[in-house]
Symmetry: D2
Subunit: 334 residues, 4 copies
């Protein structure tokens, strides 16, 4: 409460809390009086208290997320995707091109992914592009190409869903993991729809989302019944101009404490430059990430988008070797 | 190009540009060689050049947006909504509650809006909420209530569309202005759909969107054929904890130079506190904004969301008076 | 406290508080136990409690600043500088070149300042420059030139102090207002030294300083005995690339609530572009600022630094006229 | 140049460049004309060109730093401090308390540092504190205690210099490495003074300094003749509230490419929490850092400042073991 608060103001807050089914604990300090709400504070609109007379500040004590909170489940969530586990001892590397371009490009990419020893493949059929004049993705046709390229290698496929109207197509073509992109982290209608399925979801962090907001978006999916959620840190916006986004490596151990969900990292979109990918990948694993989502293209110079951030198949293979050493140093396997 | 570049590298870039239909201008400086691309550089993927050998940095010279650029239209866009103009000499104030709650709440709100002298009303029937456990809006039923409350006062209605599947409902209930919220600024499928209509669109700035990204999102709508776009600055995320978002007042004159579209400001969501709204509203108009989008609720303490940022009808009326003086000082009318 | 806290942990915190001379109020909620500290919490190191077993989070309730807080002085501080008041009804405009270059440049500048109707003059003799190869200022010789140019017009002079070793020179040449620059906002030794004088101080906000940190730096000066402090908002660092810094206009009303000190705004350094200065100056006054610190140069194109952000004498005169209208609309005078 | 530029404008820029001793290369594109400056552009004030008629934007092509640039020295700088190398194959861990408190605390700390196998010790005698009411450090007396504690273990000492007036005391007490703190990264007078000595300097990154600004501050020291500079990343300010600062792990490989100077990381100040230190330390080494600067206190709960971020001697020893595995995985030694 404000420093010069009246008894009427204090009573006002107390009555408001009672009307919401909570009890009030009143603590009169030397300079301030503090009123604690006892009960389930998730029911309260913080703002409805802030607008009462005499109130200076309202602070939440309980976390706003429930299902995804570590408090509600001490054990790590481990997700089984066609026999490969995400969130367990093994670190998973999901590799592939930014976008599905042609069947031969996808075939070559799938071979590169498999040869490098990765167990998941990524590729975008629907592309969120800043400009309406850029290539927007192959769409449903791309899903088919992807499926056809990945199946001979038994690679589960990971691809981005941008629009609820295409969810049925994703189900029809058996997409193994649905990616929700950075720009859609708070597209709540989309989150609700994937929450109704049981397909594993990779939820990327919003461009400047706090960890709490990100976990609340995961809670949207979980609240619908789908608990197969993988969080993917991909860099946040900052003032720095020397590279694209700032990889938030601190988020990894903080998330491992706050939630039981697996946490992976996308170093390619974070930095936007191939030559930075190995250092960031190794840092992510050293900090405790459960996996890496990385761009690889059979011929990066010819890529239809993000050409500057894709590894070659050869570079991917080398990176797998480098990451193996780090994984072992932190008691994991690759 | 890098400081130690070879002739082969320079030829490589030159050939790549030629293959894209552009000419190369080569300028050899003391420490660096610079290659200029001559032609329509919008065709080029910046990244496809950055990945060529010897390239240090690729800089765009031409702006990526076209239709919305001031260069393509020197005159301000003025949008006529049922006889009230946005973008002209008159400053427009769009007021109303955060969310549609009940018919009586909306009736009282509409009366307050009209009595204060505002010519547009706002209200949310579909609400983007951080938590899945918060009130999610009245939905289509809310559109009806809103229409019924606003019509007796001839107030055009402004309301947010979050999901493409509800666009038909918006058309059916004659929504006058569609709002695209902060979290959906880069929901490209949604932008494309509203771009196919001719209903005026208020496009809010993303939480940490650059002005260039924002204008590209406007370009998405314009590219579909809908040029009735109003940009709404609503504060961006920052490190400061003393208030919610940082109102970017500099964006107003910069946008007025870069684009011919009207620019309005939402001081309520920017600061999150009623007592800050008047100062920010006046600053926005002083800086050249074409209007204000502000929250007003007949009984703020009982509001179902954002209770702490809504003005009372009385406060709105006072604010109109204060803004009138500022408007006149900058040669505008209210 | 953590959700699964033991009685021993609670006792531990209680004992720690007692050892620091405070009482504990223990409030056991449904999901969390909260311990309130009763007494002067400014004595406590937040971190020394955070490291105790069972503690989840420590939140300060009392503001860390005292002398500069509005709570300790309800009336605005008004500073009298040679008969001109800062912080009163009159808005003050402090104008002049970025740096002192030559006597004739300063003479011309002083004339421009006086003709425009400004009552204070600024100019830098010691310049903080990002590069060691840039012009570093005229030094003590510059102070003399400045004094000589300003005196015929009875203009109090405002100039930046970067190094404690030059404070005596500032005293000797009768500098009327000492400016502490952005990069030195937390140069605590410098703050302590100017705190020992009674010369009015303009304290600029650090590049990404929170309002609380800024007020704590003011508290450093005030704690030394010098209460003649003027806060100067000059834009903060952000992700936006379309202009230099983001002017934090919201800071103005928030500071007016938190402190009794005068608040002025530097639009020139905020935006870095002459053409943006008028819009930002007007916004600042509309939001409640007590004054403007603006760059003017007799011949901007020839300025030795920041040429692109200096107004001409003519532009300054026009701006004064524009600001007068805004000042009157908010009940002030220029 | 602007899209509608005149020949007179182009001539104006050409003449300005000639007057500065540079040549102009004029490239007329389809939509824009670009003028390249040929010669040493470091001489040019970017702003003096930006204010010329017809100029839209001025872009630097050459890096503003010289001595510290990788371009000027391909080989890594390796600094020899009493026989221990920083910047070579060996990773160095500099450990010790936040502040010098008592002789017995320092003696115990030194023993812990030595037992853990670290070869450098840190400790603050002069403390930059946000509040004037917090403990400000033991001052010169602290330097003596530090020296006395470290000498029996042959540990070179690292301590912060905040004020030029104490440089002589640092020389007298044989401080082995001078630390320039975050708040003083752009205290240019301080940088110039340490640039005149040959004592190795740890230059911490400013709270929101870009990599380019940071390297320019290093250039200030180098320009004075002192090339023994170690860069220390310590987290930057961000919007995230879940931890103190955001460790910029991407800065490590970017700096290793841009400069030949050693790069170390301070995980303690970055995150502000003991339990996060191991993850961040390992990430830093995996990303290519040359060392770690970490807080350790014999009894963290009793520390006079930053109690919540200090490791115990036991935790430091464990961390050394964990880092050893990472160091080996990246081909280094600890």
């Amino acid at each position: 409460m404000h420093s010069q608060v009246s008894d009427a103001d204090i009573n006002g807050v107390e009555n408001k809390l009672k009307s919401l089914g909570l009890e009030a604990n009143i603590s009169r300090g030397v300079e301030r009086t503090i009123i604690g709400a006892i009960g389930d504070e998730r029911k309260i609109q913080k703002e409805s208290l802030e607008s009462l007379p005499g109130v200076e500040n309202v602070i939440r004590v309980v976390k706003p997320y429930k299902i995804v909170a570590r408090e509600s489940q001490a054990k790590n969530t481990v997700i089984d995707i066609k026999g490969n586990l995400i969130g367990g001892k093994k670190i998973q590397v999901i590799a592939g091109p930014c976008s599905v371009e042609t069947q031969s490009q996808m075939d070559a990419a799938a071979q590169g992914v498999a040869l490098a020893g990765c167990r998941f493949m990524r590729g975008g059929a629907f592309k969120p592009r800043t400009s309406p004049y850029s290539f927007q993705g192959k769409g449903v046709e791309g899903l088919k190409m992807f499926r056809q390229a990945a199946d001979p290698h038994n690679l589960p496929i990971v691809t981005e869903l941008m629009d609820v109207r295409f969810l049925d197509d994703f189900l029809e073509h058996g997409v193994d993991v649905i990616q929700i992109g950075t720009r859609n982290m708070q597209n709540f209608d989309l989150l609700k729809e994937v929450g109704k399925t049981h397909i594993p979801v990779i939820l990327k962090r919003g461009l400047c989302a706090t960890l709490s907001e990100w976990l609340m978006s995961a809670e949207y999916i979980a609240a619908g019944g789908n608990h197969n959620i993988i969080l993917c840190e991909r860099g946040v916006r900052s003032f720095e101009k020397a590279y694209r986004n700032m990889l938030d490596v601190t988020a990894i151990p903080v998330l491992k404490k706050e939630t039981h969900l697996p946490v992976i990292v996308d170093p390619s979109h974070a930095c936007g430059k191939t030559w930075l990918v190995p250092a960031l990948s190794k840092a992510a694993i050293a900090a405790g990430a459960d996996g890496i989502l990385v761009e690889m293209h059979p011929k990066p110079c010819d890529a239809w988008c993000d050409a500057d951030q894709a590894l070659t198949p050869e570079e991917l293979k080398n990176l797998m070797g480098e990451m193996r050493g780090i994984a072992e140093a932190v008691g994991r396997e690759l």
